[in-house]
């Protein structure tokens, strides 16, 4: 056992995860900073969530400042962009969204709980709708598929958070 950001952690397991996914290690650094802030706040008599927020932002800024600027220069991204753009050219929008989701594991927590609806529009937006505990419909405009690819992936990820709600 060792200590990361004030949290005891079993290093052998974490090391394996880090090897497989450097992004996760950054997330652990970010979030363990948040936990430390929260715990400090509780000890000082404040509200946990206030301290947590401050800790998260502080550690977030610190680590992001030292992180790589994104993942849009690696081979995975280049292959994804090539496949995505081809599907969009062929107007296979649902397949393109599925490729984005599969490539970056965006829907791992919500598989089988949503469906796509494609709206023909030059505007770029996504929305999620549906009754509680029912299938959620993620609506995406065709314009968004031709927009900034990083924005598309992050927005889709964002919509899946809503699906999980």
């Amino acid at each position: 056992m060792t200590n990361i950001g004030g949290l005891p952690m079993a290093m052998p397991e974490i090391s394996n995860l880090i090897t497989r996914n450097p992004g996760l290690f950054k997330a652990i650094m970010l979030t363990s900073g948040g936990f430390t802030g929260g715990l400090s706040s509780t000890i000082a008599g404040g509200k946990f969530i206030d301290g947590f927020r401050q800790g998260l932002i502080t550690s977030g800024l610190n680590h992001v400042a030292h992180s790589f600027s994104g993942t849009n220069t690696d081979e995975k991204y280049k292959q994804f962009r090539k496949g995505f753009r081809k599907l969009v050219r062929d107007e296979k929008y649902i397949e393109a969204a599925t490729l984005a989701s599969d490539t970056y594991s965006l829907d791992s927590d919500v598989k089988g709980r949503y469906s796509y609806s494609i709206t023909k529009s030059e505007k770029s937006y996504m929305t999620t709708g549906g009754d509680a505990y029912e299938n959620q419909v993620v609506e995406i405009t065709t314009g968004f598929f031709s927009d900034h690819l990083g924005d598309f992936v992050r927005a889709l990820h964002h919509e899946f958070v809503r699906v999980s709600a």
Partner: protein
Amino acid sequence: MSLYVFQRSVLGNDSVNNHGLREYFAHLDSVYNTSLPKASPQAETWWKSRLDFYWKLSLYNSGQSNVNPLVK
């Protein structure tokens, strides 16, 4: 993997009761998730600009504040 994993572990399925907090984390994730392709500066600025609003909404949703940011 991302902050999203962490927000799920913190929030569980309680988001119906605290929509603001889930959106706050979702926006935070949209800005700082380094596992996803880089966003445009415009999108990043937009998500950052919404953080304060959703934080206030989360406080209102959880009963820690009487100020509803949805009411101007």
